[in-house]
Subunit: 398 residues, 2 copies
């Protein structure tokens, strides 16, 4: 018997996908399950991406350049320029999804044993990437009662150790929906500069802002060029999760050079998917207004539903397409499993993502859950009503 490595065995299974067997079983038994647990949008991928396939001139699906095909790099430069971010090809490496961009950041900027500080709750796969890169994610705890704001600089600073190599933030935030403004981000920039740390920004939800606020990219802090690494992806923005097209962006030359070496080792990101992504740069205000408008309606339907539930705590999410709420239950995972296995309203039930997996601090988030706004308004309304009834029934049962 030969076992996996320590890091292989330590690798956490995805808490978002963990309860999938229960959902599969419920569905197999004929139950309708409203799956609000996973961030897979149902919005249609822009037709321009499929149209690009019709224009494929090639007869050989060849390796592209390791940093991405020039057409797509240039499309990205144009896209970022629209957001007031000036970049050149030398600042961009196209990646296998945002996932590879994050792994790249962790390996290029950190050595085994190094630590990265991230506000919790955070996108759980950061743990997986960190395990793979043999680095450790340390949490900066944020709380519902503070509207998920970052703690004071002094609190964050106390978490910095000689092993800390980077501060990381996802903005707008998955899972909380929190939109961090310039002032909050400046706290992190101040500390990154003071302690010579990298500042990682996961900005894949850049356009998902519901009330007209401006998005602040870390790349706008031009005094931080040496520190900032931004990780991006078209997955959510263009409803193209399966394309696996992301980007690793920095103005730090040493970082870009090392990242390109990693990029060369894995040869290139997928060629056809990059060609499909090129025309997305032409999608402007109308496309995003429609898409974000749809998510806003869903968010509002979720909020309307939550308002009818007793003892559920939450804050209005201003961005991304998630909300984390505190439920009047002892253990949200137990509640979700119960909804999938024992509860139903007209043979329908709801699936949420228990939030404990989004926290690194043991015990936190046990009575919290995340909803993703991935079902249309009608289905969302139904799901929220079922959730309300489920909470009532579960509390009576306990």
């Amino acid at each position: 018997m030969i076992t996996a490595s320590k890091r292989g065995a330590a690798m956490p299974p995805s808490p978002i996908r963990k309860l999938k067997p229960y959902a599969d079983k419920a569905i197999a038994a004929g139950k309708t399950v409203y799956q609000l647990n996973i961030g897979q949008p149902d919005i249609e991928t822009p037709p321009a991406m499929f149209d690009a396939l019709k224009k494929l001139g090639t007869k050989v699906i060849a390796y592209g350049p390791s940093q991405g095909i020039p057409e797509y790099q240039d499309a990205l430069i144009k896209y970022y320029k629209k957001h007031g971010i000036e970049l050149g090809r030398e600042n961009i490496i196209v990646t296998n999804g945002g996932s590879e961009a994050i792994i790249m950041g962790m390996t290029v900027c950190c050595d085994p044993g190094d630590e990265i500080l991230v506000p919790e709750p955070f996108y759980t796969n950061y743990n997986g990437f960190a395990t793979q890169a043999a680095v450790t994610v340390r949490p900066i705890t944020t709380r519902i009662e503070d509207d998920w704001e970052l703690p004071d600089i002094s609190v964050i600073e106390r978490l910095i150790t000689p092993k800390t190599k980077a501060l990381m933030i996802c903005n707008p935030n998955n899972p909380t929906g929190k939109l961090y403004g310039e002032e909050e981000l400046r706290k992190l920039a101040y500390l990154a500069k003071k302690h010579n740390l990298f500042l990682f920004g996961d900005e894949v939800y850049r356009e998902f802002i519901f009330s007209g606020e401006k998005h602040t990219s870390l790349l706008e802090f031009r005094d931080m060029d040496e520190h900032v690494v931004m990780m991006d992806s078209i997955s959510k923005r263009f409803s193209a999760c399966g394309s696996r097209i992301g980007a690793f962006v920095s103005r730090n030359k040493a970082v870009m050079q090392a990242a390109l070496c990693f990029g060369q080792a894995r040869l290139c990101p997928p060629t056809i998917d990059q060609l499909m992504a090129v025309p997305t740069v032409e999608l402007g205000k109308e496309y995003f207004d429609t898409m974000v408008g749809e998510y806003k309606k869903r968010r509002d339907a979720v909020l309307e539903g939550l308002a009818k539930m007793a003892d559920v705590e939450y804050k209005v999410p201003k961005g991304a397409f998630y909300i984390v709420m505190r439920l009047p239950v002892a253990d949200a995972e137990d509640f979700v499993i119960w909804m999938l296995t024992e509860f139903q309203v007209n043979n329908e039930t709801v699936m949420l993502a228990p939030a404990e997996g989004f926290y690194a601090t043991p015990g936190l988030g046990r009575n919290e859950a995340r909803i993703a706004f991935v079902l249309n308004v009608e289905k969302t309304k139904k799901a929220m009503e079922i959730l309300r009834l489920a909470l009532e029934a579960y509390r009576k049962k306990c």
Copy 2:
């Protein structure tokens, strides 16, 4: 100034792509450069892969399962069955190219600081993947004069240390073209079993065999189920390097479970490229005979050309589409740069991959170079004649 991590800075640039700027400059100056340095086939991708695009039913490019879409997993099961290898879905994770499969093996099976023994010369990107995974590749030296055979078991065994976690072999071999038979592979299996090591097989050139010999997969050693991890890719086989579709294959349950967790973190391999790959399973003897026949003609043209050159040592490669030869020069890199910058025949020249980068032992391979059989016979013949003249001129110059 904030620098990359130690591992980022230690990351070797690709020796295959390292001399590209010289080639680019020569081409920009109007020279024709026969590029025999890189393994990018010019063979057409099977039309069935493009046809699959016409049948895309989806309007949303959604995340697929982390282990790959079931249609493609099943296609792979059928493909391996044709090669006498029995597998189930639980043994296969579809990856972002063979590259990700190798990184996955190194991270799932090894901890930072662990070592992997690999016959050298080896595919240089193993170094890159190892750096990323914070493990070390240690060489088992093989030599032209021995027809690249593995050394005696006792010689290999002396290289095993407490840090050794895996033995790895690429078969047929990139860069040497060596085809390892069952007997040689059994040497490694014996040692893997005796010392409880993993046995990694990079088998992406499985079908590229020129003289009718049978390919032996490590997966055929059923007494080694716990040890064997096989890394695969459609890049060369179906001339689809830009699709980034590979596979991580093992019957070790702990390894597959850990690998799936890594797979879940990065979500999934590209969906459309998997759909394109599904029909490749129907390509049989006729397809491979034609393709491998074409590579054989090219290999023979290379051998014919080499036979005319004085003092060039080589062995007939039986597989893959490469050959490593020893040139009558002190430094092959210097020779290649000279060909690109100073030499020409009717304004044409040749590019090879200097072989030093394929060795881990310092100093080895300095007077060796790799040729990839990636140009058609006519071009190959021209290139070989130019190479002959270049060698003559270079020797006179020195």
